[in-house]
Chain length 144, copies 2
DNA sequence: CTAGGTGCAAAGTATTTGCAACGCT
DNA sequence: AGCGTTGCAAATACTTTGCACCTAG
């Protein structure tokens, strides 16, 4: 890791109020160097090459810490368990970043319509599934 | 269940090419009667009241069957495991309904910008996370 | 020095699978 | 009758936790 990279990471940790450890530096660096949407196991593999003694649990803890601190994001805020849509109308989701609740909003009401079209890379778009991330009324109150 | 409901369900099963069983009828009916985004356990509870001998495994199998057949949708196509965003730029996701792959598309390129605003119900929108559902180039080929 | 971080192993949760018995068509 | 479906129990996958030791500040 270059001096610049180390300083950058130090600044990130200071901002988050967490300690700078060797493990965290390596996880940070590996994440920065990866493309796509790696799972904890996929992060663990290259990290373990550089720190053979590291445990998967530490990688999990570190990833969560980075997400809580806003250093990285997770792909889906509601990835936990399988959930079934009971609402058959075209709609999108209001996802509260405070309490993680999900409520529905009609597609029309949000003003983002579906649009079958070709996108760059030859991807054929069929429909949009929009998560509107924000704060529900209750969480706005409790934060004020 | 009314005669009409039973016929409706029979039509659904015929269209999907699956057998009409008592278990499936009850799971279908319970899902139709629920609001929100129930987990398999939450579906299992009321179903078990009506069919005490049913197993959770059957509820899982039935829900998956309904999703594959297009009878119900799942809330997130990529809910499986924790995934980290390594792309720091504002972007959205192209999710292939064929192979489940996820690739990124810049927010600008998609033409759906962020917009902090108040929505009905007092929800304070901070940003959008858009999944564009469709078929990637490879899956379009293999389906033709 | 000491609060916070780490590694290990065990526990927890969510989901899937193999298989014998059973029920729809 | 025959094949798909069910229930059970065991297996698997993913993630978290308790605790003794270690390390950054």
């Amino acid at each position: 890791m270059t001096v610049t990279e180390a300083n950058q990471f130090r600044a990130v940790c200071d901002a988050a109020g967490i300690a700078v450890t060797h493990q965290r530096q390596v996880v940070y660096q590996v994440l920065k160097s990866m493309n796509g949407h790696p799972s904890p196991e996929e992060v663990y593999a290259p990290v373990k090459v550089r720190i053979p003694s590291i445990s998967l649990a530490t990688v999990y803890k570190t990833i969560h810490l980075f997400i809580e601190s806003g250093v990285f994001r997770e792909v889906s805020l509601h990835h936990g368990t399988l959930r079934v849509e009971t609402n058959a109308r075209p709609h999108h989701h209001l996802v509260c970043i405070g309490c993680k609740s999900i409520s529905d909003i009609d597609a029309e009401e949000l003003g983002i319509g579906a649009a079958a079209r070709k996108l760059p890379g030859g991807f054929l778009a069929k429909r949009y599934a929009v998560d509107v991330l924000g704060l529900c009324a209750d969480c706005q109150k409790s934060l004020s």
